[in-house]
Amino acid sequence: MTGTQRPTVFRSALRVFDLSLGQMLWSRRSVFLGLLVGGPVLLAFAIRAAVALEPRALPRVNGAAVSGGALFGMIIWLLYIRFIVPVLGVFYGTALIADEVDDKTITYLFTRPIPRSAVLLGKYLAYLVCTVLLVLPSVMLVYFFVVPLTGSIGDSFPSLLEDLAMLAVGLAAYGAVFALVGARLKRPLVIGLVYAFGWEPAVLLFPGYLKRLTVGYYLQALVPHAMPNDSAVSILMQAFREVPSLLASLTALAVITAVTLWQAGEAVERREYVLEQ
């Protein structure tokens, strides 16, 4: 009897990735994704156009004109780190398996002669490529619109590289955490939103060790810009902010990504998904 060799997890994941990338990019959710990453670009373009028309239109903090570099830093903090990256992680990460369950198409994937965890891994890779290819060009455009307003591209280029790397790492970590939530729990979107916009900001506000159980704690340590004092919450965050070292942050994020992804794979392998009729 001749038997076909079962493909490896990685080869299977690449096949799933190939199928899922297109699905993910051209789904209805992509409209939301487009708005999310297009918003900062439009904002940066509007600022650029306003300053070109009237130089005094440059945004101000306490009446003093903000430099291009500082404005870019504020956009990175307030829009990307605190909002876009966690939101993308929640919406896409939790949907990797949950969408297939809701659409009752998970059976088709699981009946293929591939390891179940390869389905999750392939979809996770598709999520990562999809979000990275949208978020990083968006940051690049914002950078070129905003930084030359009053700053030098060459001078701030190293911090742009740090920003891009940090955002990619953040998307990877949040995606993995929410992939686990999506694979293990019911109503993963609600739980994900509560985690990203309830638990994480709340824990980061207070002194203690709990903040070490968040992705944000390590991710925020990688941001090369000073945290803006935009609200009382930010001031509290700064007051109790501990900044782990670069190595510790990268290690922690790598561990979080690897462990949660492995746990998510295990959950997909073992869990019996009951499709509601």
Partner: protein
């Protein structure tokens, strides 16, 4: 992968590649900024030496007509000896004749601070004949130097033998007068006549700092911190505690009050973090000390620490009420 997905991936990678390539070129070979923006800074910088340690700018007209200046002037009528003395010597009335000034200070050759000389380039309305005749009546000597009229004199408190501090006035172009130490004014004329002699706009570090301040502020100053530190002659114990700062800048908008931002460029990110910690500590102490003084609390609450990478920025707002309190205090004494 479908064709449109492939196009999306290609387009996205193209944006990233072009952006990173442009940034890389800018980082390594100093991308010409004019491709994206104007050279930046007031045009008077073209008359200033490239190695100026400190450069400052003030929109004199805006500052002099600001509500803040009027209120301070009314509250604390200060003797205007210096202003009067300047007018007696040069015939230039600062309030009436000058629109804006750009000043520079050169570091001393021995590195002992900014005592190498100073110059102010004032733009406004000047009666050249009247100014020259007035100065000559005070003993000044006038000559033509490389096509510009140069009037040299000794200040009222200066000695004839003190050649380093000889004071000069030169008319660089219609509506632009240079006033300062004779050597520096001659340098300005040399730069003006020489055409391609290096001037302050060729100092990319300085220009980067100036570009970040030039918009929306009516007074600012930029300088190398080492020159300032040497000038201040800080005790060794204090100097050793200050993180390594390369450049500093102060920019403000003066109107009803003063709103501004102080920036420091440190040698590396770690120094910037240390400096932020130091400033944060001082801010906390000041907030505790403000106690029950609401006007001081308003000012202290306006302090905002920020900055990116090697930059530490502290923005502030001094409302006119705070100045009222200070002036009342002064009058009380």
């Amino acid at each position: 992968m479908t064709t449109r997905t492939r196009y999306f991936v290609i387009a996205s990678l193209l944006v990233l590649t072009v952006g990173l390539g442009t940034g890389l070129v800018a980082y390594y070979v100093g991308f010409p900024m004019s491709a994206f923006q104007r050279a930046g800074g007031p045009e008077e910088l073209r008359y200033m030496p490239r190695d100026a340690a400190v450069v400052a700018y003030a929109d004199v007209r805006e500052v002099m007509t600001s509500q803040l200046r009027q209120r301070v002037h009314d509250a604390i009528p200060t003797p205007e000896n210096g202003q009067q003395e300047f007018e007696n010597q040069t015939g230039i009335n600062i309030e009436r004749d000058i629109d804006r000034v750009v000043a520079c200070a050169q570091a001393a050759p021995d590195g002992s601070g900014v005592k190498g000389g100073g110059m102010v380039l004032a733009r406004g309305r000047f009666d050249e004949v009247k100014i020259e005749s007035l100065m000559r009546s005070h003993g000044a000597e006038a000559e033509s130097y490389k096509g510009s009229r140069l009037i040299e004199t000794y200040g009222p408190h200066q000695h004839q033998a003190d050649h380093d501090t000889k004071f000069a006035v030169a008319f660089m172009e219609p509506g632009l007068v240079a006033v300062g130490t004779a050597d520096l004014v001659r340098t300005a004329i040399d730069i003006h006549a020489g055409g391609n002699l290096p001037n302050a706009t060729a100092n990319e570090d300085l220009m980067t700092m100036i570009r970040s301040l030039d918009t929306g502020n009516n007074a600012w100053a930029v300088g190398r911190f080492d020159a300032l530190r040497q000038q201040a002659r800080l005790p060794e114990q204090v100097a050793s505690q200050i993180p390594p700062i390369t450049w500093f800048s102060v920019a403000s908008h003066v109107n009803g009050g003063i709103r501004g931002i102080i920036r420091a460029e440190t040698r590396d990110d770690e120094s910037a973090n240390n400096l932020r910690d130091v400033v944060r500590g001082f801010m906390a102490m000041a907030k505790l000390g403000a106690g029950s003084k609401p006007e001081m609390q308003t000012m202290l609450q306006s302090l905002e620490l920020g900055g990116t990478g090697k930059t530490v920025a502290l923005s502030f707002a001094v409302p006119v009420e705070v100045l009222d309190v200070i002036s009342k205090g002064k009058r009380g004494h």
